[in-house]
């Protein structure tokens, strides 16, 4: 059974992420221990609340470095909600700009829509090549957020597989999910998205390379 570590940096309700990953077929560990995070087949980066609080929390446990190290080694990471947002260069909340992890270029800004937060079940527009959305393309997923990345600014490269982008719409178009090599992210909460969310997590778990120590 693949093992997944949830990066614990004091961000909100990680219990449901733990249960959903278990339901999707993973062995789950909640930890901020660097050795454990590097040894896991997959790491989930959760995040709720404010952008700056999540960045501070993550840095305070050295989680940004662990993610860098994993990605440098091609080891999968899945970021959820504000966990996804802080992967970008910066976020602006209440007029204050906070530096993010800069895994991807771009800014996270307030959603312009008649009703915010964007709260509830929405559809997504995904590419046929998506692994995460295999078999669940037409399902709805549970979103709850007031900010989002609305542009994809990573320059295309002939040497890299093109990132798979999934979009949604609430007042304006925004990124609902990204699959970029070892780094994946969803703006919605798969752990709160019922059977469709579990299926998405299972799709991700199925992409995890098995650890050599786990054997056959």
């Amino acid at each position: 059974m693949p093992n997944v570590a949830i990066l614990d940096y004091g961000s909100g309700n990680i219990r449901s992420a733990e249960r959903a990953l278990m339901a999707a077929g993973a062995e789950v560990l909640i930890t901020s221990n660097h050795a454990d995070l590097l040894a896991a087949d997959g790491v989930v980066l959760p995040g709720v609340g404010a952008f700056d609080a999540c960045v501070k929390g993550l840095r305070s446990v050295g989680g940004d470095q662990v993610i860098d190290t994993r990605l440098a080694g091609g080891l999968p990471v899945l970021a959820i909600c504000v966990g996804m947002q802080i992967l970008f260069t910066s976020g602006i909340e209440h007029g204050i700009t906070t530096e993010g992890m800069s895994q991807w270029p771009g800014e996270v800004t307030e959603l312009i829509a008649p009703i915010v937060p964007h709260m509830g079940w929405n559809t997504v527009e995904t590419a046929p090549s998506s692994h995460l959305f295999q078999g669940i393309r037409d399902e709805r997923f549970y979103f709850v957020h007031s900010y989002a990345a609305k542009t994809w600014e990573l320059p295309p490269s002939e040497r890299m597989a093109p990132p798979i982008l999934t979009w949604s719409h609430h007042g304006e178009r925004f990124l609902a999910a990204v699959e970029n090599g070892a780094l994946s992210a969803t703006q919605f909460h798969p752990e709160k998205s019922g059977a469709a969310g579990i299926a998405l997590l299972r799709n991700w778990i199925n992409t995890l390379p098995s650890s050599p120590s786990r054997g056959k």
Binding site: N13, R15, P117, M119, W121, S146, H169
Partner: protein, 253 residues
Amino acid sequence: MTLAVRVIPCLDVDNGRVVKGVNFAHLKDAGDPVELAARYDLAGADELTFLDITASSGNRGTVLDVVRRTAETLFIPLTVGGGIRSVDDVDALLRAGADKISVNTAAILRPSLISEISQRFGNQVLVLSVDARRNTNSPSGFEVTTHGGRESADIDALEWVSQAVQLGVGEILLNSMDADGTKSGFDIEMISKVRKRISVPLIASGGAGKAEHFVAAARAGADALLAASIFHFGEVSIGEVKDSLRSAGITTR
């Protein structure tokens, strides 16, 4: 792409047990909130709300235990309300597995509770529950009540929701104390007045008696529709409500 209108069953929980019977077939234990939560998830509920009505504050632990056990099996959002008076209460519930919490009387008594909670956890976790009723002496024609609608809080309902959104609530749960229990439909006028005043999601509650009532409330601008007894007693199923909404051209999950 359109956001689906949410349908939300609400369970009253007292000392860890569901009060008001629930009439699902083949329930092992009709008073077990955990089993009922799973059944409502299967029945197509978009979220679930627990209202903790435990009178004794010494027994607050029981709701935490219920939330913890429910979070083991529920993969849709769970809101918990009732008796929340402090940031620490919120912290304990979120850690136990709640996704959102709702405040009511404590926020009326001390509005700064709203900003304290939203600054710590973000406004997306915080629902303001408002028990409102018609009163021609109130500027908007609707006033806020306490004690289950028995007492006036001497606050105008529209003023209160506006102020609460400013202070940092992420969603409004609007209960009509006039319509509550009548099964004659939601208070449509109140829903549309509140909808026009605020830009956060609005959950309508009180008065649901048949599937068509939900359609009228959604048309009046409710983003989500909450009901208790008609679901529990099996008078209308969540599926029937969603069928009616869809027939009326309203998006559902």
